[in-house]
């Protein structure tokens, strides 16, 4: 693929002795929604955190292989990690407003990256709150605490906060799993709207959501890419037995063990069944 926004080559990540990602070589297409699917613990979130180097914060983590964003290897020593992170807005699993007012939450990134010009700041905050469909609900209480918002509103605030740093990429780590169905739909629709201007990568274990949103799908299992491809292909005509089973909601472990044996790889104790 030549329009890859993020590309990884032989990315391996382990926590201590425990491998979390094995030989991940994938391309994330620009201006599309890419869904990384797979059951809990398969390494989805680790992969997402490898993209904006939040993985650096984890205890006892070792990373090898390469991740290219806009063609530059972000694990290169010369990488400016702050500019890298500014390229990516993150929506976490659970909304975490910063301990300040609604206004200050959105202004946080703006102040850090652009300095303080009060008039410009105010109009930007309004702009991004509108972008996240939150403005009308909060315009009369901008200077009250963000923690008083409902959880759905908080997640939209987090979206506004992420968009305010003017990223190119939006990373969502199961961004709707803590929300009620109505708020979740709100976020999903917004993401579809935003893909015109942003490359979006979401991690989800909700297959329906992946079907609704994704243009491109990557299926991870036990830290390996099992199958990747355009959404229609993965969901309508998956090639791999495991992908077929996962989409149907069947158990995967036996197929996986057989496959690992076939490939001549040793399954560590505690992995799989």
């Amino acid at each position: 693929m030549n329009n890859a926004h993020i590309r990884t080559t032989f990315l391996n990540v382990s926590y201590g002795e425990h491998p979390a990602l094995k030989d991940i070589s994938i391309d994330i297409p620009a201006l599309k929604i890419t869904a990384i699917i797979g059951p809990s613990g398969c390494g989805k979130s680790t992969l997402l955190k490898a993209f904006n180097r939040l993985l650096d914060l984890a205890d006892d983590v070792s990373i090898c292989g390469e991740v290219f964003v806009d063609g530059a290897n972000i694990y290169d020593k010369a990488t400016d990690v702050y500019s890298l992170r500014k390229k990516m807005g993150l929506l976490a699993q659970k909304p975490f407003p910063l301990p300040m007012t609604i206004y200050e939450n959105v202004a946080y990134g703006l102040r850090i990256h652009n300095g303080i010009d009060k008039n410009k700041l105010e109009s930007s905050v309004e702009h991004y709150l509108r972008e996240a469909n939150l403005w009308d609900e909060v315009k009369n209480r901008l200077h009250t605490s963000a923690s008083k918002l409902s959880i759905g509103q908080q997640q939209r605030l987090c979206l506004a906060r992420g968009l305010a740093i003017e990223p190119e990429i939006i990373l969502g780590d199961e961004p709707t799993s803590a929300l009620d169905p109505f708020s979740a739909e709100h976020i999903e629709k917004k993401l579809i709207e935003l893909k015109e201007r942003y490359t979006i990568v979401i991690v989800t274990h909700n297959i329906q959501q992946a079907m609704k949103l994704a243009d491109y799908v990557i299926f991870l299992y036990h830290g390996r890419v099992i199958e990747e491809g355009p959404s229609e292909k993965i969901f309508k005509a998956p090639k791999d037995l495991m992908t077929q089973a996962y989409i149907k909601g069947e158990y995967l472990d036996e197929i996986w063990l057989a496959k690992e044996a076939q490939a001549g790889r040793k399954v560590e104790e505690g992995e799989g069944i």
């Binding site: 914060l57 976490a92 975490f96």
Partner: protein, 286 residues
């Protein structure tokens, strides 16, 4: 269900034991307070609070303990300020800059735990040794530095425990927005932890204002009001000690009055800290 009676009995016994422990804590505290109030209240007068001791005070003469009240306040405020100056950067470093499994963090926390356990007379002796080395005499400044050392581990461990409770995700969010660790520490983590950090400062202050042994050699004692960083100051704990040590009942009573003043000082600080905590909790996540 053969054991249900036994289990219910167990439950009752355990509950009663816990309740008894709670009640006895409250009772002991009340008993102490009542003793000091009964013995000290009759000696409380406007003169006690607003005048330094005059000639013959320690034999029942005119005057008050303003020298010790002011001395204790100056000492503890200065010491708390100095201790906070070191303690806040240390705990922010431990909790924002270092990873959870950092060996260095373990070493620093262990040092604080050891320092915490050292009796305050040792701090006093240490402060005295340093004073001698620099040819200083007992003074407000030397007392402040010694008390700051005494407060440091207490304040740091209290603040450290608060910062440990700041959700990891909050740091991740701030960093993911492209903030530096410094911005994350000062604008997000510190802000989230302000109520707890204030409490930590006040715990330090409470310990500093009431400690006698560390100021015995380092701050000295004087009957005049504190005027200079380089001159000795009186402190409430020593004022209590000296007055209870006299053979005159009316002076001993003033010792209890001084104790009463000290208790009220600490009580006032606890109340203020509660109020501040409520105020600063406005934006924090819970």
């Amino acid at each position: 269900m053969p054991n249900i009676k036994k289990r219910l009995f167990e439950e009752k016994v355990f509950k009663a034991t816990m309740l008894a422990s709670c009640v006895s804590v409250v009772l002991v505290f009340m008993y102490m307070l009542v003793t000091v109030v009964i013995k000290g209240l009759p000696g409380l007068s406007w003169q006690m609070l607003t005048q330094p001791p005059k000639g013959g005070y320690y034999m029942g003469g005119e005057g008050g303990i303003l020298n010790a009240i002011l001395g204790s306040l100056y000492l503890a405020i200065g010491a708390t300020f100095l201790a906070a100056l070191i303690s806040i950067p240390v705990v922010l470093y431990l909790n924002v800059y270092l990873k959870k499994d950092s060996k260095f963090a373990v070493l620093v926390r262990f040092s604080f735990d050891v320092l915490w356990g050292i009796p305050s007379i040792v701090y006093g002796a240490f402060g005295f040794a340093i004073m001698v080395f620099f040819h200083l005499r007992a003074s407000l400044l030397a007392g402040m530095i010694t008390i700051a050392l005494l407060e440091l581990p207490i304040m740091s461990r209290a603040a450290d425990n608060i910062l440990k409770m700041v959700p990891h995700e909050l740091k991740e969010i701030s960093l993911s927005l492209g903030a530096t660790r410094f911005e994350t520490a000062t604008r997000v983590v510190f802000r989230q932890a302000i109520p707890g950090i204030l409490t930590a400062l006040l715990i330090g202050f409470g310990r500093g204002v009431g400690d006698a042994a560390s100021v015995l050699f380092t701050a000295g004692y004087t009957d005049s009001l504190p005027t200079s960083l380089l001159r000795p100051v009186a402190t409430l704990p020593l004022a209590i000690f000296f007055q209870l040590g006299t053979p005159f009942p009316e002076v001993q009573q003033r010792g209890y009055t001084a104790a009463l003043v000290l208790i009220f000082m600490i009580l006032a600080i606890s109340i203020v800290s509660r109020l501040l905590t409520a105020r600063f909790h406005k934006h924090t996540l819970r």
